[in-house]
């Protein structure tokens, strides 16, 4: 796909998230002019850029919605729940259009029709590209528009001719172009815009319509719009002077340049301010750049390689007697540590945008289930690795769905219980050491431990006479296939949700904890590593091959003598404290030749509440593991999630204990397919 289109897509998806957030907030405060402006600007940008990049369907469809919100902005229509609902559905449709998915055109046409119903009788909208037709014409006024682009205007891809053309379309317009700031050829940077314009426009479309024309150049230009028949603008100095100047200009007694010079003289102090503002805005423009995620991944990979080389250098430096080499190696180590921290921070994103997406989910689900729920957030600026954030979406959806479906009570029940009609789901994020804690709490009914117990017995998850602590009962909801829903709903799915959540979070080297108080609500806390690019690992050896086990999966290390090890191998089980747990010899699993040592080591892992012991030759110790992805050919290998390079340059595979467990149990395919439902 062409790069520009890709950038448009990314921006459109971001704008749609922002639009949805603004719409949901607008539903709460329908009179908020700033929110109305935000909705309108998002729509206008999606429409304008859509037309520019060949998404004609997006432009045409968005134009209809924009026309309705133009009514809202001009105070002729009030935002109500039905308009917000329709607009949110429209966001979904636009998202599909931008993603170039197959569309039901009848549905799109029907939705456009529903938007038109919000417009006054007989009003029609023009095609996009033209501004919307005035439904109730405003008073005709004359505006003076001073358009002073920044030098970066051309480079930003803006075409002033198109803007001027759009202004001309609003009414009678006189354009005065200034080129006195254009330097001679030997001083000219041909890509820097040195032209500026004054436009005198007579229109009944209002100032907002004029501002809309400049919406794409707001960051790369200074714009002043003044109604000529309005009161004086103190910025322009004495009113009489301005009027005389314009009269002289109209009579042709002075040139526009001379008028401009005189006005500049009057506003010299203001010009200083303006220059300062411009400088600040220019700094703002370059303060962030958009970089494709794969470039950042490459950078992090390269830094990972450097870390490995540096480890090798430090080893050599330590072995050598050369103090100079040692000093160099220490300096390189310091620099690389700093470089690694910087490179990792580039991939960190605030979790806020992910949180925002769920406002819509909460609203829609609550509506679907006849409940009332609102979402609140805190710690939205907490940063997490992009990869973690990307993989967090599905687990959070499952948790929120479950909370609304099973936790939040219907409004009349809540009222009877003395709770507010509207339930609250609170999403929070906070750093805790090298972990991020994401907590999803709801003020619903909390977990019904009696129902959980009954269900677990019915599903043969626990024997009927088994005594369990309350938190153990709570944790049963993470068992595969568990569901306390009396009826199967589209919302909470078919009881696959919470076990999938636990597996997904564990696959991210994280943990899930649940707290619940009957009648007061429940909270699920996800504890996640800041990044997936480097993990804490346990370096182990089988024969001459090294492997890394993620430390988060390690519970305990044990030893077995030859006899115990042979028994465990034969039975596939081993004794662990006072019970039997699954045993798997990694030597056999990976088909590594050679004799096991007399004393075999076992690493015990907890996988979804199930203990499993992995037999191996030697536990070497803690290892900061820079994860390298496996190539395409090795991607489907069971039991391995990646590789890392050790200090001596040799490659070590990182074990995926969950996958090993699944492949042992033969559950891989089954659970995967369940997850997709």
């Amino acid at each position: 796909m062409d790069n520009h289109k890709m950038v448009y897509r990314e921006e459109a998806f971001e704008l749609l998230v922002d639009l949805e957030t603004a719409l949901l907030e607008l539903e709460e405060t329908p009179e908020d002019e700033e929110l109305i402006g935000r909705v309108f600007r998002s729509l206008h940008t999606i429409k304008g850029s859509g037309a520019m990049f060949g998404y004609e369907d997006v432009a045409a469809f968005t134009h209809e919605i924009e026309a309705v919100y133009e009514q809202v902005r001009d105070g002729r229509l009030t935002v109500a729940r039905d308009l917000v609902s329709l607009s949110l559905s429209a966001c979904d449709l636009i998202r599909k259009m931008v993603a170039e998915e197959d569309l039901d055109t009848t549905h799109a046409a029907e939705m456009m029709g529903r938007f038109r119903e919000f417009l006054p009788e007989g009003a029609a909208t023009d095609r996009p590209g033209d501004a919307a037709a005035p439904f109730t014409p405003l008073r005709t006024r004359t505006y003076r528009i001073r358009f002073h682009p920044h030098p970066g205007l051309f480079a930003a891809g803006a075409n002033p001719a198109l803007i001027i053309d759009e202004i001309r379309g609003l009414g009678d317009c006189e354009v005065v172009a200034h080129f006195q700031d254009v330097p001679p050829l030997d001083e000219l940077d041909p890509e820097a815009c040195r032209l500026s314009w004054d436009l005198i426009l007579q229109t009944d479309r209002g100032e907002n319509a004029i501002r809309d024309a400049f919406i794409f150049v707001a960051d790369t230009s200074d714009l002043e719009i003044q109604a000529m028949d309005a009161g004086p603008n103190p910025k322009d100095g004495p009113t009489d002077f301005r009027r005389i100047g314009e009269i002289l200009l109209e009579r042709g007694d002075i040139t526009p340049e001379a008028l401009d010079d005189a006005l500049s003289e009057q506003a010299r102090e203001l010009a200083v301010d303006r220059r300062a503002e411009r400088r600040i805005s220019e700094i703002g423009v370059v303060s962030s750049i958009r970089v494709p995620a794969d470039k950042l991944d490459t950078l992090v990979n390269l830094v990972g390689e450097l870390v490995t080389v540096q480890a090798n250098l430090s080893r050599k430096g330590g072995m050598s007697d050369d103090p100079e080499l040692l000093a160099i190696s220490e300096e390189v180590e310091r620099l690389i540590t700093s470089l690694r921290e910087n490179a990792m921070s580039l991939r960190m994103l605030p979790i806020g945008s992910t949180f925002q997406k769920f406002r819509r989910l909460v609203r829609d689900l609550a509506e679907e289930l006849g409940k009332e729920a609102a979402m609140t957030t805190s710690g939205a600026d907490t940063e997490l690795d992009k990869t973690v954030i990307d993989q967090l979406n599905d687990p959070l959806v499952h948790i929120i769905r479950n909370e609304i479906d099973h936790g939040i009570e219907p409004p009349h029940v809540r009222e009877a219980l003395g709770k507010p009609r509207q339930g609250t789901i609170h999403l929070s994020a906070a750093h805790s050491g090298a972990k991020v804690l994401i907590r999803i709490s709801g003020d619903g009914a909390g977990l019904d431990t009696d129902a959980i117990r009954a269900r677990a017995i019915e599903r043969n998850l626990i024997p009927p006479d088994m005594e369990l602590e309350e938190d153990e009962l709570h944790n049963l909801i993470f068992s595969p296939g568990f569901s306390t829903a009396k009826r199967v709903t589209d919302v909470s799915g078919r009881g696959v949700g919470m076990d999938v959540v636990k597996r997904r979070i564990e696959a991210l080297h994280g943990k899930v904890e649940i707290e619940s108080r009957r009648g007061q609500g429940a909270a699920i806390t996800l504890s996640l590593p800041l990044t997936l690019a480097i993990i804490d690992g346990l370096l182990v050896r089988i024969g001459t091959t090294h492997f890394v086990l993620p430390l988060s999966a390690v519970e305990e290390c044990l030893e077995l003598n030859r006899e115990e090890a042979n028994q465990s191998r034969d039975r596939g089980m081993m004794r662990y404290r006072d019970r039997m747990i699954i045993y798997l010899g990694l030597r056999e699993f990976f088909g590594i030749d050679g004799e096991p040592p007399a004393i075999e080591r076992v690493v015990v892992s907890d996988i979804g509440g199930e203990k499993i012991g992995f037999g191996l030759d030697q536990v070497i110790g803690h290892h900061q593991t820079v994860i390298k992805p496996l190539g395409r050919i090795y991607r489907d290998i069971q039991g391995v999630s990646g590789a890392t390079i050790l200090g001596d340059g040799s490659v070590s595979l990182i074990l995926d204990v969950h996958q090993i467990f699944q492949s042992m149990e033969g559950q891989g395919g089954k659970e995967d397919s369940a997850e997709k439902h």
Binding site: V182, L185, P190
Partner: protein, 98 residues
């Protein structure tokens, strides 16, 4: 875009696009022409596309001629150039003629 130059005569002929993407190369050619004794003769008859950056470059050439006292003569102009000037609110006659 192609640029044909006959620098001893000061001729710079632009063919095709005359936009921000081409202005850097055209500026070089124009500066070289002004370095000569004759000044610049610009042939814009073959320009098929022109934007505000192109128009700005022509304005700059006009100002250079005024500042250096050398000749600036536009010997041919295409409709695309005229429309670009009108589009940004400039009178082509003022810019193209001394």
């Amino acid at each position: 875009m192609t640029t044909e130059t006959d620098l001893p005569a000061g001729l710079v002929k632009a063919v095709g696009s005359f936009t921000i993407y081409e202005t850097a190369a055209l500026r070089e050619a124009m500066v070289s022409a002004f370095d000569g004794p004759e000044g610049l003769i610009l042939d814009l008859g073959g320009v098929t596309e022109c934007d505000a950056a192109g128009v700005q470059l022509i304005c700059s050439a006009r100002l250079t001629a005024r500042k250096t006292g050398k000749t600036f003569h536009v010997q041919a102009v295409s409709n695309a150039v005229v429309q670009a000037m009108e589009g940004v609110g400039l009178d082509p006659f003022d810019i193209l003629n001394p």
